[in-house]
Symmetry: D2
Subunit: 267 residues, 4 copies
Amino acid sequence: MELKVSRKSKPEKTIVKVSNIEIGSGKPVIIAGPCAVEGEEEYLKEALFLKEAGVQILRGGAFKPRTSPYTFAGLGEEGLKILARAREITGMPVVTEVLDPRDVEIVAQYADILQIGSRNMQNFTLLKEVGLINKPVLLKRGLAATLKEWLLAAEYIVAAGNEQVILCERGIRTFEDYTRNTFDLAGMVAALDLTHLPVIADPSHATGRRELVGRVALGALAAGADGIMVEVHPEPVKALSDGQQSLDYNEFQNLMTMVKRFISQSA
Amino acid sequence: MELKVSRKSKPEKTIVKVSNIEIGSGKPVIIAGPCAVEGEEEYLKEALFLKEAGVQILRGGAFKPRTSPYTFAGLGEEGLKILARAREITGMPVVTEVLDPRDVEIVAQYADILQIGSRNMQNFTLLKEVGLINKPVLLKRGLAATLKEWLLAAEYIVAAGNEQVILCERGIRTFEDYTRNTFDLAGMVAALDLTHLPVIADPSHATGRRELVGRVALGALAAGADGIMVEVHPEPVKALSDGQQSLDYNEFQNLMTMVKRFISQSA
Amino acid sequence: MELKVSRKSKPEKTIVKVSNIEIGSGKPVIIAGPCAVEGEEEYLKEALFLKEAGVQILRGGAFKPRTSPYTFAGLGEEGLKILARAREITGMPVVTEVLDPRDVEIVAQYADILQIGSRNMQNFTLLKEVGLINKPVLLKRGLAATLKEWLLAAEYIVAAGNEQVILCERGIRTFEDYTRNTFDLAGMVAALDLTHLPVIADPSHATGRRELVGRVALGALAAGADGIMVEVHPEPVKALSDGQQSLDYNEFQNLMTMVKRFISQSA
Amino acid sequence: MELKVSRKSKPEKTIVKVSNIEIGSGKPVIIAGPCAVEGEEEYLKEALFLKEAGVQILRGGAFKPRTSPYTFAGLGEEGLKILARAREITGMPVVTEVLDPRDVEIVAQYADILQIGSRNMQNFTLLKEVGLINKPVLLKRGLAATLKEWLLAAEYIVAAGNEQVILCERGIRTFEDYTRNTFDLAGMVAALDLTHLPVIADPSHATGRRELVGRVALGALAAGADGIMVEVHPEPVKALSDGQQSLDYNEFQNLMTMVKRFISQSA
């Protein structure tokens, strides 16, 4: 049996729509924001900066999966409210992670796109739960997931009734530890062929190193990514999480200059 | 700060007790059963066979995490009832997996030990939930988890208040695909040093190949494992899941002969 | 002590010159050819096609490392002579692999660039031997080599006296087997920062799948590669080695169209 | 075509004989010594200690493959002479690594067993060269080699005419970096089934950590290894290479006590 997510079942590309933005339309989308929502004032300021810079979708974590139980795990519902406020002010849709099937309803109330993180790519009860809502889901590849397993995880969501799934390649775990993960460019390209769903790249988690983010993002776009998701923080050294891989405003503006140039040339 | 699970916080070994069985006492425990509970009659028959063979704890999946949404995912609560019935008849405690934080309560009603599977090792909301119950938890290592991440996952459970955690090495994902996973013997030995919690081995998932299970089990015990967990099925070729790695009764009896010999010699 | 290959020892980029071609100058170079030299007539025909298509350097194996002792291992010196003839006719320099320290002299007589393959990246006696000649060396990354080990392998060559080293990222071995290897885009970008030596990409070996080669090549160039090396064969299904990853003429012309567009836009 | 090294070509186990020692006979052999031969007096002293401890074969590197060109690479021929002197005094055969096809002849003059190291497992010209001599070859598994590639590397030696090949599992490279490599116990067990050649374990390189060596060695023996090879140094902290994984005399005597107990119980 062919999977519903397979190109063989549906050759034409799926375009996921969020307010007036189309993901998978051929023109790459830019998603950006801090790793976590750390406070209202800071988040709204950053949201305005990102809008100005040309970003289309805001990201920010309210529920953060953390390797240690003793580190900052997000602001929870308060974070969701800040995200909703940022959307109100900027008009930009927001994407945020959901960790627990019991939180799907509340997260869906505030967010425009629900993210399933790498560690939960095979959290099948969570996948089924987001399969029941009527909002797009951003499904990150598990850090040791094969392409097939990734597509099958997406299939859980689609089989449950939600066809608005965006895949996100964010690096896999290998022996190489100079980078946080190994960005699998060819796997991303293969996914673009194997499924009709949009596939974007997260060069921030893939590399874990600020100085590599921009060039990896450009590489992903040149290879056909439907978009990129980038971590940006006004003062990366003060970030409560993922500071090493977050771009500061200046770095991000430089990246946007390159991205816009790329997009205009490919048009 | 030292973790609560660290030997540095608590040098003496933790012994997890389940009815009259001690895990971590120096004498290895044997856990066995089919991958999934497939039906009452079959399960009870197998349970009696395993008791006779010298097994101390029964395993069997009622909620099964499956890579594809279209494969057998266990009998659910019906499976839990069969497990409880097997315990009643044999007097042996049972271990079974829980996938969803909303199911922790019901699984804890039926089972003696709750298993957190590899794919959920960093399902932090699930970890916190099993940290709130008063039953032992068997925490499998994630298939791409470092030792440190595995210990931090255990820390989530202990930090939430449940100190009865058993770790289970079940193979990691590497480039080698002759075996289903790569059994990390040295990682298991290191874990025995790093934490005071009991550490057991699952040679069935680690190898994925029936003919290797016995020797890997013996290797794990000789290296110091606090126990082994083995998949057994009366007719592996008919198993609804994991048939290739399940021992048939004859193979399992041969393994038990070796294991008993090993245990008596080490005594 | 800083390595000689490090940017910290020598901040300015090294440009490796081969006849009138500069590698590392900012304008990417294109290396192409069949996996192995299979016969004179075919090779010369292909060389003329590649010249016409805009390729700058020819590749072709005369000594082939093969996993099995029973498969075609190249034409040896006869293959070298064909390469030399192709250079004569087309005016294009040629790169070919050397496997044995005893063959370095003869390969250097015929070839313009000597390639050290992945399997020999830590064949230290071979590295020292090519460090003694006065021809450029193309050093492929080992399939399980960290960036640091790769740079240290280059250091062997430079320390022996030969500073004309070109690094080539060709994919690393990971759990993902949909692709032959995992192309490490971020590792390639990091290498471009860490060393002053030119760094190119080999999307053919990295992916092992013809349909992915072109997009991975474009991704590598957009991320800053100093060049690409691509396998091309007039009839890939008939190739004696690596047919699945070789582009046919039509596919290669399409790639060159994209590459030329990219180069003209970045100029 | 079945490989010559396959059990299918030759079901009965190959026993490799070195002086009066049999490798593959069912009784495990113990190989030990320092990583590198560092000086005559020290080496002879250690050799006498190891003989006394019950070791059967001495190891010691004269030509050392080193990741960096700037570290101690062994004493070369002088090291070979020391090895020969140790054999003369103790009556024990010696195993040492050969790196270069041009050195095979001289190493074979001094050593009883020639070792091919992990980095050279696919150095095909070297494999062919040791296939031409009439001395046993110890072939270590490459750090990213599949079982199939390892067997095919052995096939190169056997196909060239030398059937006296001993395989050695020494850990593979994975994402786990707590240990130097990941000892592949199940892979070793599988190799024992797939080939008739003897298969031994090297717990020193596999773990890279002294405190794990003993238990991993016992695990390997319990799982069926034909022998173990262990690094021992009188003062590991002063070792010129691999000090962290070398046992001191006291640790090694403890290991030998366990090993002898294991061997007598399995007899």
